[in-house]
Symmetry: C2
Subunit: 163 residues, 2 copies
């Protein structure tokens, strides 16, 4: 029975979640404390691996660890109404769409600027001219830091590594 369990390194290999992150998820309470051998080694059974794959998949979809905690709770509660899950997913979609739109704005502005810059040996450069333009609104007022809106953050982190 316990022959069916694996160490953290093997679990990492099988689920795509690094050993480092598995420990961190446990430390921060996303996952319950793993079973330990007498020597203190963590051991994972098939159900644990299943959970890890669930987490991994959710991360790939850009959910924050906080959101995943909610999804996990719902997953474990077999009687939950599917509406709760759908609501979390839709928040995530809205957040993704909002950030996509912002980045689209940036990209389009930059493309417009880059098009108008000949990009040769001469110093004239509309891109720098734009950046240096004086008639800029000074400080767009920031809205409240709202509790949501942190989802999908991790995806960006991973973006930076994985490219």
């Amino acid at each position: 029975m316990s022959a069916e369990t694996v160490t953290i390194g093997e679990a990492a290999r099988r689920t795509g979640v690094s050993a480092k992150m598995i420990r961190w998820y446990e430390a921060t309470g996303l996952l319950p404390p793993a079973a330990r051998s007498e020597a203190g080694y963590r051991h994972y059974d098939e159900a644990d691996l299943h959970t890890l794959r669930f987490v991994r998949r959710a991360r790939d979809l850009g959910f924050s660890v906080e959101a995943i905690a909610g999804l996990l709770a719902l997953w474990r509660d077999r009687a939950r109404p599917s509406a709760g899950v759908k609501a979390i997913a839709q928040e995530q979609i809205v957040d993704l769409r909002r950030r996509i739109a912002e980045m689209e704005d940036m990209a389009r502005t930059l493309e417009r600027l880059a098009e108008s810059c000949c990009g040769d040996d001469r110093p004239e450069c509309p891109i720098l001219d734009d950046l240096a333009a004086k008639d800029r609104a000074p400080a767009p007022p920031r809205r409240s830091p709202a509790s949501a809106a942190l989802a999908t953050h991790a995806a960006h982190q991973r973006d930076k590594r994985g490219r």
Copy 2:
């Protein structure tokens, strides 16, 4: 002459860069040390404010501080070839486009899942079913952490605050 200079708080108000960040940009070398009054207060003249607005605008376009350092150097070098600036901008565009595409993928997948979830009181939930699916590729190999690709990070940070 020095009547034309302002303190850091006023500079922050006028440029939209927080006092905190102005100090940080100085500490990390993005900006040269500011002039100081006898009491140690930083003072900024119009040229400094212009530079700060330049930085602000570049941040708004998603450039990383590292990239902005490059842009600033080119901006100060009046004989620079515009090609250098264009290259930086295009790297940024590519990076933005890549990340937009990734988020689009996430959003589309989630939309598809959300559509198939009735979102009522019943427990059946295709979203959770997908997250829990077993036949997932375990570990997509991560590519090298390449030096570029960090641009636009700040924009996400600001995303989280400003909404």
